[in-house]
Symmetry: C2
Subunit: 182 residues, 2 copies
């Protein structure tokens, strides 16, 4: 099995149980590999498995969410494309955000710098699009940050209330909200 194929199978385990709630037994079962086989792919053990999963997911996020913002379409179209990417990336809200899940406990000690960096890149990349339509940089940053707040909050609520329309409504309202009176 390719390393990438293994990583893909580990993703849902870390996402559901968090770093410390995930055990090698779970990862073994999810991947179909014995524990020792996992150590062949990840000599540093659980920590490097989480590391690989985070890196893989970051690339997926870049592709699904950030790339659309860097295309040469109209700003409104870019934002709509981002929202489509968000809907896909978070499976309509059913997927918890890795950045939120991994910013707790020991995982936070291990990955904090990367998590913070990723979140800020997201905010800044979105802000660029707003600046493009003439919104003041400071205001653009605020709006962009606010959109991320809404998304993260919606993901928490969906996890608890189990109603994906909460997430879908937030996503649907995002583009207009971000550009309003611009």
């Amino acid at each position: 099995m390719s390393k990438e194929a293994v990583i893909v199978k580990l993703i849902p385990v870390f996402r559901q149980y968090g770093y410390e709630g995930t055990t090698l037994s779970m990862l073994s079962q999810a991947s179909g590999l014995g524990k020792a086989s996992l150590y062949h792919h990840f000599p540093q053990g659980k920590e490097s498995m989480a590391d690989a999963v985070m890196a893989y997911v970051a690339v997926e996020f870049e592709r699904a969410v950030l790339q659309p913002l860097k295309s040469d379409r109209q700003p409104i179209e870019k934002l709509k494309a981002m929202c489509q990417g968000l809907n896909e990336f978070y499976a309509a809200g059913e997927n918890s955000c890795f950045l939120a899940i991994m910013s707790v406990g020991e995982a936070d000690n291990l990955f904090h710098a990367r998590i913070k960096q990723q979140l800020q890149t997201w905010i800044e990349t979105t802000a660029e699009v707003l600046i493009e339509v003439g919104i003041e940089p400071a205001e653009a940053k605020m709006r962009s940050q606010h959109s991320v707040i809404e998304i993260q909050g919606a993901l928490v609520l969906v996890r608890i209330i189990k109603d994906t329309t909460i997430f879908e409504n937030i996503i649907a309202s995002l583009p207009q909200k971000m550009l309003q009176q611009a």
Copy 2:
């Protein structure tokens, strides 16, 4: 030491490390009691410690956040009082929300029903105030839910970015936002 005094000392451990990231050794150290002494207070072990902590925090939330909404003041004053309570309860955003932290992994299996119930009570109690000023019940629920989304999202961002002004800004804007054009 009284049971309540013990519970208070356990709170920050579960809040920072989550249910599965918290160990009895941590709880022992935080409380100043030996592991066996903790079992005197909580015969069911870690699960009942988390249970007691969740119940205690729920009472604090009720007092700080929900009670102000049930006073006989003007609606806008009630919302402002809630925001003051939120700021206190979440320590200006430095405290992660227990409902969010405990809705992950094994803890979610143990506590999901209570967590969902608590979140919905919060949303409904806030909605009552909006209905009081003539907002349609459906719209009141939406706005109320949206305010909780913003709070939860802000708590996630503060945890990662470590800037409490994010939370404070959200809180400051809440009352007006909830009542706008009502």
